[in-house]
């Protein structure tokens, strides 16, 4: 069975290659198909990733995916040329539960349309009772919030898109 990080590593590998589709069949790891459609990557796998089970492996395969900036890898830039180039992402630095507010009865940190600075706290990601107040690290206007409050997020998962000004 593929673990989350193996799947991520494979997606990255396909993403960066000129391969459009990758299919692996085997006894142990059952079946995994990754198809690239335009700039989207679609993962089909019969392995049901247990939500609670999502674990950061001892060390992620790749360094933390910093919000994509102009210094991004050329391959990535080429793939995303159809996307608004000023749109940046804020990604989760760890596996955990995503919270939009410091407590259930507090106001949310940010809403779409809000302007954030590099040091603005945009959300909390909680794991093993550690509350991580995540800073935007980019400045601009919050376009979309990509996950629901209380949802479990993965390492490197995009949480917000930000339109720089």
């Amino acid at each position: 069975m593929y673990d989350v990080n193996e799947i991520k590593e494979l997606i990255r590998a396909v993403d960066r290659s000129s391969v459009g589709e990758l299919e692996i069949k085997g006894d142990d790891k059952a079946k995994l198909t990754i198809k690239k459609e335009g700039q989207n990557t679609v993962v089909q796998t019969p392995v049901e990733t247990q939500i609670q089970a999502a674990a950061p492996a001892p060390a992620p395969a790749a360094p933390v995916q910093a919000p994509e900036s102009s210094s991004g890898a050329p391959a990535q830039a080429a793939e995303e040329k159809e996307i608004d180039e000023s749109l940046q992402k804020i990604t989760s630095p760890m596996v955990g539960t995503f919270y939009r507010a410091p407590s259930p009865d507090s106001d949310v940190y940010v809403n779409p349309g809000d302007t954030v600075q590099q040091d603005s706290v945009v959300c909390i990601v909680e794991a093993m009772k550690l509350m991580n107040e995540l800073e935007a690290e980019v400045s601009g206007e919050i376009k979309d919030i990509l996950v629901e409050d209380g949802e479990l997020v993965e390492y490197g998962q995009p949480l917000f898109t930000v339109k720089s000004k």
């Binding site: 247990q50 093993m128 550690l130 509350m131 690290e137 209380g150 479990l152």
Partner: protein, 327 residues
């Protein structure tokens, strides 16, 4: 400060009497000024005997968390060397956050006798009573990746267990990931907050609220089944500065061990205190509930639960409750 110096002189003189004349000359203040300071110390809870023609003798010190009381006992290399003490605060955690953002060094500790706001996980308040407890927040700046930082909650749990054991002689238990229990009831609340960028930790603030000298009747009926204190467990009253010095000492030790040797030694120590292993636990998160037998923790600190179908779940983020203790 003259009062701290006076206190030091009283300690040095003990068990002899300290003459007012001597204090007056050493500190360069009048005899009336000495008397004023003695009165002030008495108000703070120091018991000082005054005998005509002999001088002053320190009989006992208050059970306080003042600078003076803590530093007299502190044996750490750096943790708590820089200390901010306030008798009453809204939240030690808020002060530590502000200090961390302003660039405070690793090891700065904020301590208070009483916390008014109380800040539990996600803003849940925890019980706070004047001068029975200890409230402290410590700034750490670990050179690890943000995804590793949750392990610090287990580091803190191990340190708290050792400190409480050193002070009371009674062995506490840990419920995953960082609840410290005596007879199944919580004696402290740990809140760990991190300021980070996606790939870099700015600061980790570890906040601990401890129940030390409450008696069982000091807890509300609602809390009596879930909360306890060191005194309620052993019948003894504890000097809080001494407890705090033990906590800082153990926290520094385990944190340094973690930074140098990684999580393996922490895992071994954590499992030594882990009450939850082998029992039936229920883990609740915002999206799902899983009940199973606790098999242990992973190399990263995640809880392993085996459900009735035999499937093993790795729990990374959930509220855990012991649902059956005999299994």
């Amino acid at each position: 400060m003259k009062r701290d110096e006076l206190l030091k002189l009283l300690r040095q003189a003990y068990p002899q009497y300290l003459s007012g004349q001597h204090v007056s000359e050493t500190l360069g203040i009048s005899r009336a000024g000495v008397w004023k300071h003695i009165e002030e110390l008495r108000k703070q809870g120091y018991e000082i005997e005054a005998v005509p023609r002999k001088g002053y003798q320190l009989i006992s010190s208050p059970n306080s968390l003042s600078h003076e009381e803590i530093h007299a006992r502190l044996e750490t290399a750096w943790l708590g060397s820089e200390l901010i003490y306030e008798p009453e605060v809204s939240s030690t955690q808020d002060i530590a956050h502000t200090k961390a953002q302003a660039g405070a060094k690793e090891g700065l500790a904020v301590v208070s006798d009483r916390q008014i706001k109380g800040k539990g996980r996600l803003g849940r308040p925890f019980y706070s009573e004047p001068e029975h407890g200890i409230y402290t927040s410590v700034i750490l700046r670990p050179d690890v990746m943000p995804y590793q930082a949750p392990q610090l909650t287990l580091v803190t749990a191990v340190a708290m267990c050792e400190a409480f054991q050193d002070v009371t002689g009674v062995t506490p238990e840990i419920k995953w990931p960082n609840d410290i229990l005596f007879s199944g009831r919580k004696t402290c609340g740990i809140l760990t907050e991190m300021q980070s960028e996606p790939d870099r930790i700015q600061a980790v603030i570890i906040g601990v609220g401890m129940n030390i000298n409450q008696q069982p009747q000091d807890f509300s009926e609602e809390l009596q089944n879930i909360a306890t204190s060191l005194r309620a467990e052993t019948g003894e009253t504890y000097n809080r500065a001494e407890v705090l010095a033990a906590v800082y000492s153990r926290l520094e030790h385990w944190y340094v061990t973690y930074i140098h040797e990684g999580f393996a030694p922490i895992k071994a120590a954590w499992e030594h205190y882990a009450v939850s292993i082998g029992r039936e636990l229920t883990a609740r998160s915002a999206t799902s509930t899983i009940t199973g037998k606790a098999e242990g923790i992973t190399e990263e600190g995640m809880l392993l639960l085996r459900d009735e179908t035999g499937t093993i779940h790795k729990i990374y983020s959930a509220d855990v409750e012991i649902t059956r203790s005999d299994s």
